[in-house]
């Protein structure tokens, strides 16, 4: 079986500072998205369960100048090889363009039995890529899986939906998106980090997958992207736990949200 895991690398969210409501992205390193590590781990666990399975990571560079280094973490986790779509036109692309590029890359790789996405990216969390790629490749898709099994050429997934857990089944090939509850991503061992550098990594431009800049041109205009103005009191209450609690209760009574 072949499993393709499209992953996104994003600026380290803990390192982004805000100045005059603007995010400061200079010198912020990229890392593999937290949620993407869950999708990689899910693929690796299926590989272990099913046997004779190849796990292929796929990513779009999106402005990450050190994408090959960043992707080594996915290889160190255990993915067998990596493909990187690297093209300036893709840096500005929105979900439609990126989904098209991923779909074309998946076709060029030779397709897959299963394509495992995170339910959303860790930075933007739009959740569009899995369903869009499924539609482009005319594949069944199951979203939000928290448990996955593959047996007898079928995919079975469990997901939470309202007050219920749904058990869903699909034929293969299929697309699935996973939530963070599906697993605890492994931390690569030192030996696997050493081995990762030797695993095959292929870099493609848009032209290599049969697309040009116009095909992935952005279809949305970002009018602004600023930190929200907080309309909060931001009062820090200090002292011992007892003093803090007494002061808090007084303040809440004054605000009229607690009875005196």
């Amino acid at each position: 079986m072949k499993i393709i895991v499209p992953v996104k690398t994003n600026p380290d969210l803990q390192m982004i500072r805000i100045k005059n409501r603007e995010p400061i992205l200079e010198a912020v390193p990229y890392k593999v998205g937290d949620l993407d590590k869950n999708s990689v781990e899910a693929a690796l666990q299926l590989q272990a369960a099913v046997g004779d399975t190849q796990v292929v990571a796929l990513t779009i560079a999106e402005g990450n100048r050190k994408i090959k280094d960043t992707m080594k973490e996915v290889l160190a986790m255990g993915a067998d090889e990596a493909y990187i779509l690297s093209d300036d036109a893709l840096t500005a692309a929105d979900q439609a363009g990126k989904a098209l590029a991923l779909a074309k890359a998946i076709e060029k790789i030779g397709g897959a039995d299963l394509i495992v996405f995170a339910e959303g990216s860790t930075d933007n969390y739009s959740g569009q890529m899995g369903p869009r790629v499924a539609e482009l490749l005319a594949l069944p898709e199951i979203g939000y899986a928290k448990k996955l099994t593959v047996a007898d050429g079928k995919l079975t997934a469990e997901r939470g939906m309202g007050d219920l857990i749904e058990v869903l089944e699909s034929s293969l090939p299929a697309v699935v998106t996973v939530t963070s509850e599906i697993n605890e991503p492994r931390i690569p061992t030192l030996m696997n980090i050493m081995k990762a550098g030797k695993k095959p990594t292929t870099e493609w431009t848009l032209g290599d997958v049969g697309l040009d800049a116009a095909a992935v041109a952005p279809q949305k205009a970002v009018l602004s992207n600023l930190a929200e103005e907080q309309q909060r009191k931001n009062v820090m209450i200090e002292g011992s736990a007892e003093e803090q609690c007494a002061a808090l209760i007084d303040a809440l009574i004054k605000d009229g949200v607690l009875e005196a």
């Binding site: 600026p11 982004i16 805000i18 409501r21 995010p23 929105d94 979900q95 439609a96 989904a99 860790t122 930075d123 933007n124 969390y125 739009s126 959740g127 569009q128 890529m129 369903p131 869009r132 499924a134 539609e135 069944p140 898709e141 939000y144 939470g160 309202g162 007050d163 219920l164 857990i165 749904e166 058990v167 869903l168 089944e169 699909s170 299929a174 279809q219 949305k220 205009a221 970002v222 009018l223 602004s224 992207n225 600023l226 930190a227 929200e228 909060r232 009191k233 931001n234 009062v235 820090m236 200090e238 736990a241 803090q244 609690c245 007494a246 209760i249 809440l252 605000d255 949200v257 607690l258």
Partner: protein
């Protein structure tokens, strides 16, 4: 005349979209349609008309039972074309968010998901959503001929209803059964809880070291007369059921008093608390982002502050 088409798998949410959509349609000189799909479509249609939809497209094709994403996306794509929709506004519920990408792809549309606001600017609707993990809010305008917005439930208020309004339209749908089969549904553990209606809400996060410590927080809830909510981690660990989840893919709470215990303040949670009247945060890390969202911040260990607060409230 171009149209705005609204849909949600949750009727309460669909009513919000119909009501808000009527306002947008009036401002943009468009019509407002709603889609009601699945076995309850007839009953839902009457409500959606009352809440503002001029036309309600009713889809009862057997393939829609179970509301699988691929079939709903196909049905909505066909209805959007029949209605002449320029905007398709759906609820960013769990199903709705999954639907948005597939529907947008079918319509050749760009989409904004998890929108926390949609406003009229000039002759366009623009939508805002969290970006960079919640550090910022991106305001986006969609430039494709058909535009898809998935809007967080409870973003819009509803107002007066007009019973009996809305024309029912039966669209000519051509659907095939879903490629995904629902094998079974199982109940989730945990009693039913409705955080939407909670006037006071105490939320806990990763600061709680173990499940066995939940009674400490339950005591605070009892003393305060509050419901208990949580962040995603606690649902993931199955310490609490998903119907206690506040934030993305959970409840967008609107309590008078919201109190967080051991919550760092990641966007996935804070997106659900912004409309609280008063926000209190307790966290031992004085740099935790949650304090920027708070009216009152208490730096301290929840294992000291929560019992102290419970006692102080009991003595009050």
């Amino acid at each position: 005349m171009a149209d705005i088409l609204v849909y949600s798998d949750l009727l309460t949410n669909a009513k919000e979209l119909a009501y808000a959509g009527k306002g947008f349609a009036a401002a943009l000189g468009m019509g407002i349609s709603a889609a009601a799909l699945g076995p309850n479509a007839d009953a839902d249609a009457a409500e959606l008309g009352a809440y503002g939809a001029d036309r309600v497209f009713v889809g009862k094709d057997p393939a829609l039972e179970g509301l699988q994403t691929d079939v709903v996306a196909e049905a909505l794509a066909q209805i959007a074309k029949e209605a002449g929709a320029e905007y398709v506004i759906i609820g960013s519920t769990r199903r709705g968010k999954e639907l948005a990408g597939r529907l947008a792809q079918k319509l050749g549309a760009a989409a904004v998901t998890d929108a926390g606001s949609v406003v009229v600017e000039g002759s366009d609707l623009v939508a805002s959503h969290f970006s960079y993990g919640g550090a910022t809010v991106a305001k986006e305008k969609v430039n494709t001929p058909i535009k898809v917005f998935a809007v967080m439930p409870k973003t819009f208020e509803v107002g007066d209803v007009v019973a009996g309004a809305g024309t029912v339209v039966t669209p000519s749908l051509s659907l095939t059964p879903s490629a995904v089969k629902l094998v079974e549904t199982k109940p989730k553990e945990g009693a039913a809880v409705n955080l939407d209606a909670a006037d006071r809400l105490v939320c806990i996060g990763r600061g709680l070291a173990k499940k066995e410590d939940l009674p400490m927080v339950e005591s605070l809830c009892a003393a305060l007369g509050a419901e208990m909510g949580c962040t995603k981690s606690l649902c993931d660990w199955e310490w609490l059921s998903e119907n206690r989840l506040v934030g993305l893919s959970g409840t967008k709470a609107k309590p008078t008093l919201y109190l967080s215990c051991g919550i760092s303040g990641q966007v996935q949670h804070t997106v659900g608390i912004g409309t609280s009247k008063i926000i209190v945060a307790i966290n031992k890390d004085d740099k935790a982002p949650i304090f920027a969202f708070a009216d009152y911040g208490l730096v301290g260990d929840i294992y000291a502050v929560v019992p102290a607060l419970t006692e102080a409230l009991k003595k009050k």
